[in-house]
């Protein structure tokens, strides 16, 4: 897996969790037993866990605005494109192993690209 945010390649320490859709639907039941569905807009998100490295500036990452993030799943020949995204969440930094968790890529424009 390869993670690129605003042109900078980051090392993902753990598996990413991608929520690519921009709507969330819930189903409910009417009194007569028929189903209704509600749709709520949400932002597409990807939870990321990074590995620290020399020169990695967490403040610059979290202050970035409208950046493009590309998540490439190499073995699946697939890319997720989060366009005009922001990095949200509160990063937590583990000094023992350099793991940085708690960050999410959020965007209202997310696409899945299948590579040939």
């Amino acid at each position: 897996m390869r993670l690129t945010i605003d042109g900078v390649v980051y090392s993902a320490r753990a598996a990413l969790t991608v929520r690519p859709t921009t709507v969330e639907r819930e189903a409910g039941a009417n009194q007569d037993g028929t189903m209704f569905v509600t749709t709520k807009p949400v932002v597409a998100e990807a939870e990321i866990t990074l590995g620290d490295k020399c020169g990695l500036n967490i403040n610059a990452l979290t202050n970035a605005c409208r950046v493009d993030a590309t998540i490439e799943i190499i073995d699946m020949k697939k890319q997720w494109l989060f366009t005009y995204s922001s990095i949200v969440g509160r990063p937590e930094y583990n000094t023992e192993d350099g793991e940085i968790r708690g960050l999410r890529i959020a965007s209202s424009f997310a696409r899945e690209i299948f590579l040939t």
Partner: protein, 141 residues
């Protein structure tokens, strides 16, 4: 890839005959966006044999902007070295570094550029060398 194939791809770099300048690049990029034919002699535009998906949508023309001082200072080195010997001129290309330059000058990250067809990437590298070479030719004038 054979040396002959590479030499053919970089023929334009060895004898650059292309117009340079921001005006030509901008006009060509606008023309490409509108679906008009791209000037094949303009190194700032690369017509792709296979379109790629980017954050700006699917593109069939890769636009390479002129480099600025910040590009040279932050990347730090050129993507190619030219060696002149008795047998002629040989160009050593660092494709990894060329990818860094292209990512910076096109605005597309390397994961996106990695989906280019090989021939399109090689053409883009050749155009990049022409663009950087033009900068060197213009320096001091």
């Amino acid at each position: 890839m054979s040396d002959a194939h590479l030499n053919e791809a970089f023929q334009g770099w060895q004898q650059p005959q292309t117009p340079s300048g921001v005006g030509a690049a901008s006009a060509n990029a606008v023309a490409a966006a509108q679906g008009a034919p791209v000037n094949p002699d303009d190194p700032h535009s690369v017509r792709l044999t296979r379109p790629i998906d980017t954050h700006q949508g699917r593109i069939s023309v890769l636009t390479i902007r002129p480099p600025k001082a910040a590009d040279f200072m932050e990347i730090g080195t050129m993507p190619f070295r030219q060696r002149i010997s008795e047998g002629g001129t040989q160009v050593d290309i660092d494709f990894k570094l060329a990818g860094v330059w292209l990512s910076r000058l096109t605005g597309h990250d390397q994961s996106i550029l990695g989906t280019l067809e090989s021939r399109d990437f090689i053409q883009a590298v050749a155009n990049l060398m022409t663009i950087i070479g033009d900068v060197g030719d213009d320096a001091g004038k």
